[in-house]
């Protein structure tokens, strides 16, 4: 699923990493718990989360996750943005809930990790 399509589905906007708008993502994972994210063996997935802080960016950096959509209208801070840019991450913001965003993307064909 293309990042640009995800933006359409989730009424989301790209905060950084616009150059990845045409990238294709196969799988998604929804969690607010970074401890869970760190246990995943899958990388290059879309992380859907309402946990909006610097450690979300750090966790993604370590777990080789390059795409994050922040739900529930959470706003990316300048500190997060700087770290995301340094690591070439693509960040999106969506007004939808975690449940709604996950449901829409699942229905549209984004695969679960397990």
């Amino acid at each position: 699923m293309q990042v640009s399509k995800i933006c359409q589905f989730l009424d989301a906007r790209i905060i950084c990493g616009e150059e990845h708008a045409s990238a294709n993502i196969e799988r998604g994972y929804s969690s607010d718990l970074m401890s869970d994210v760190l246990t995943l063996d899958t990388d290059h997935l879309l992380l859907i989360t309402g946990m909006c802080n610097l450690q979300t960016i750090r966790t993604s950096e370590m777990a080789d996750i390059r795409f994050i959509v922040f739900v529930r209208n959470k706003k990316v801070t300048d500190e997060m943005l700087a770290l995301a840019k340094e690591n070439n991450l693509c960040l999106l913001e969506s007004p939808f809930t975690l449940f709604k965003a996950s449901g829409i993307l699942y229905q549209a064909g984004l695969k679960p990790v397990y």
């Binding site: 718990l33 760190l38 610097l54 450690q55 750090r58 966790t59």
Partner: protein, 136 residues
């Protein structure tokens, strides 16, 4: 090649800095991406543990051909029952740590999963030393 980092307890804005530097170095050395991920996830879990539980800590990274050894030493409350702490779901993390998305009691088990050798030594009231070895 050896690297050394200091960790400040309680400072979540710096948590992951050392792991990030190690990841950059391993990438430069051309090590397999999956192997890098295992090493840095285990290290990051350890780094977050120090920030979450200890007063201060130190990370030593020793690179050898086909082997990396990381040691995380902290001054802190220590772990009373290491076997219990290794069980998934057991945690003594504060509310503040949980609000950061950690403290689910999965860190030590995940460190074990991502390393070839893991040893933990701890003295209550003094601190903890975690040694991890990965071969590649």
């Amino acid at each position: 090649m050896n690297l050394e980092f200091n960790i400040e307890g309680g400072n979540f804005s710096r948590a992951g800095h050392a792991s990030s530097e190690v990841k950059k170095m391993l990438k430069q050395l051309g090590i397999d991406a999956r192997c890098i991920k295992s090493i840095v996830i285990a290290l990051y879990e350890g780094e977050v543990n120090v920030v979450a539980h200890a007063y201060e800590g130190r990370i030593l990274v020793k690179m050898e051909p086909h082997k990396i050894t990381t040691e995380i030493m902290d001054k802190g409350p220590g772990i009373a029952d290491i076997e219990l702490a290794m069980q998934e779901g057991y945690s003594t993390a504060s509310k503040a740590v949980r609000e950061m998305g950690f403290g689910a009691g999965m860190g030590l088990a995940n460190m074990k999963k991502n390393t070839d050798e893991l040893t933990i030594e701890s003295t209550v009231g003094e601190g903890t030393t975690v040694k991890m070895v990965n071969y590649f």
